[in-house]
Amino acid sequence: MNRNSPSILEVSRRLFASLLVGLILAAPLPAVAADQTKELLLGIEPEHNIFDQMERYRSLAAYLSDQLGVEVKLTIMSRYGEVIKRFKALKLDGAFLSAYTATMAIRELHLEPVANPVNLNGESTSRGYILVRKDSGIREAKDIQGMGMVFVDPATMEGYLFPLLYLQRHGMTDMRIFFSRYSYSGSHASVIFTVLDGRADVGAAKNTVFDRLVANDPSIQNELEIIAQSPKVPETTLCIRNEIDPHLRDMLATVLLRMDQNAPGRQALTAFKALRFVKANQADFVRIEEMAQEAQSVIVEGGKD
């Protein structure tokens, strides 16, 4: 045997050692990736006043950054319906989504719902309202035919899906001929002001925004009539990409769910205008998905002005 040529045992030993090194290098990859995660980029759906909204979310992001040891950055998605496109284009790690966009994102992007904020009124849910001016003479679904309608955005449950489903159940077969005109205002508050001004006869918006506006200006309640309301759905849900390191995902959920149990967390919650976070429930979105399927036949893309 040549002294320089390795024995079979030696070859096996080297091969084993190489395999072991390879395994050692390969096995902790996710952990290494987690350690190397420098930032989390979270999207926000735009509300009526995006400056106030950013201010609210900034305090939350700062708290999360501090607790997770990862910089949490925020970006506003240009409009409700953009969530799927923007998620891919911006390579977002997660987003605070309203009920219908969360449903779409769970379906199309396989996002995982993590937590819902509980509002100052103790609710983590919202419901859709169909609103008219009290002096409009509109009292029920049949009076809406031939009127001008304002929706929030085609990607909202309270501001689009619910009114369509409600009217479909009351005989609407084609929204293009049912309304004299329809448009999308882009925000729930804007829908309420549009109906108040008479720029549309009927509007659909969520109750939490309506309640907030009424609290600021009680005259709004004197002028508007709620003629229908939807079941409750999660108002906002933090949904996360399922490719994100499970350790970080768990940490994020834990930090959010325990936020109300420490002083800095409570301070951030106050600035965020929430009482606490609660665990999200995937089953909530199944029901919204069913509503979307049911309303599909009357839905038409684009507005008719």
């Binding site: 009526h48 006043n49 995006i50 008479g198 005259s219």
Partner: protein, 312 residues
């Protein structure tokens, strides 16, 4: 030819002559219109009214319009109404409450169609031969927008006590302002001399009612208010972009169209009493950013996106 034949021939010739001479159903109709002053809002209603009538009558010269433009005061309105009644027109059309009420007061048998009336169901517009259309603006929205533009603790309301609908709007606005803890001050304009009192106005904002007299001097009013840096809101469109910061108004064309439709039906023989009056409630919201710059007010982006139109 015997006597019977001659008589029959004469009868036939007479019938033929009568048929030839008879006008078609709505040829040579005379329409009297009272449009107070040169108020652009009424002008826009009238423009649509005329265009729509031409469309309905096939573009031929089958009607003639006698346009009266009285100065906004009771004597001029009465004179304009009497003149049209003396002309024995087939239809009178009025824009705004005072002109309408002046015609109704004369108790003429000539049918009347009104337009541009604020809350016509509350105005005195009843009468056998009277119908028409008007509008309603949610006055509370004006207060709401002004409050979103700047803190408003006091509100001046410019009105004219010689115009019933302007008085009504002023009262509504006062009630709404008081409900919100805003001190409301009525500023009555009855003549040009009354504009001087605007120099002493110190309210946070001003709301302008749909008075024709007030709108006659709108440019002067806005010039005084701008010097005092007081923003103004109006329920008539600021067609000339003369400096109203915010307008919430009912578009004129729909009223012009409906007035023409009603007028055409009446000229074709339909009883005015059988045509139901209509109140338009749709509105347009306009912000004037040139005015906002002069006043040193920033219109927030979330208000701008509400607007139907932005003047830059």
């Amino acid at each position: 030819m015997n006597t019977w034949h001659r008589l029959l021939c004469r009868l036939l010739v007479s019938v033929l002559l009568l048929l030839a001479a008879a006008p078609d159903a709505h040829a040579d109709k005379r329409i009297g219109v009272i449009m107070t002053g040169d108020i652009p809002y009424y002008g826009a209603i009238h423009q649509t009214f005329v265009a729509e009538l031409h469309k309905r009558f096939g573009g031929g010269e089958k009607f003639e319009i006698f346009l009266q433009r009285p100065f906004p005061n009771p004597i001029s309105w009465t004179n304009a109404a009497r003149k049209l009644i003396a002309f024995d027109v087939d239809l009178i059309v009025t824009y705004g409450a005072p002109a309408t009420q002046a015609v109704i007061h004369e108790k003429s048998r000539i049918p009347l169609v009104y337009a541009g009336l604020y809350e016509p169901d509350l105005a005195v517009t009843s009468g056998k031969g009277v119908t028409g259309c008007g509008f309603k603006i949610p006055m509370s929205s004006i207060i709401r927008y002004l409050k979103r533009l700047k803190p408003v603790n006091s509100l001046g309301i410019i009105f004219s006590s010689i115009e019933e609908d302007s008085v009504r709007q002023c009262k509504t606005m006062q009630e709404l302002a008081e409900q919100q803890g805003i001190k409301a001050v009525g500023i009555d304009i009855r003549s040009q001399a009354d504009l001087a009192q605007l120099k002493n106005v110190q309210t946070d904002a001003v709301s302008i009612t749909g008075s024709s007299l007030v709108h006659l001097w709108l440019t002067d009013i806005l010039s005084i208010l701008e010097k005092a840096r007081i923003p103004a809101a109006d329920i008539f469109p600021d067609e000339m972009a003369s400096g109203v910061l915010m307008t919430l108004y009912q578009p004129a064309h729909s009223q012009g169209q409906m007035a023409a439709e009603m007028g055409a039906r009446i000229l074709l023989g339909v009883e005015p009493g059988s045509i139901a009056p209509h109140t338009f409630r749709d509105t347009e919201l306009v912000f004037n950013l040139v005015a906002s710059r002069h006043l040193g007010i920033t219109v927030p982006i979330h208000l701008l996106i509400e607007a139907t139109k932005v003047i830059e």
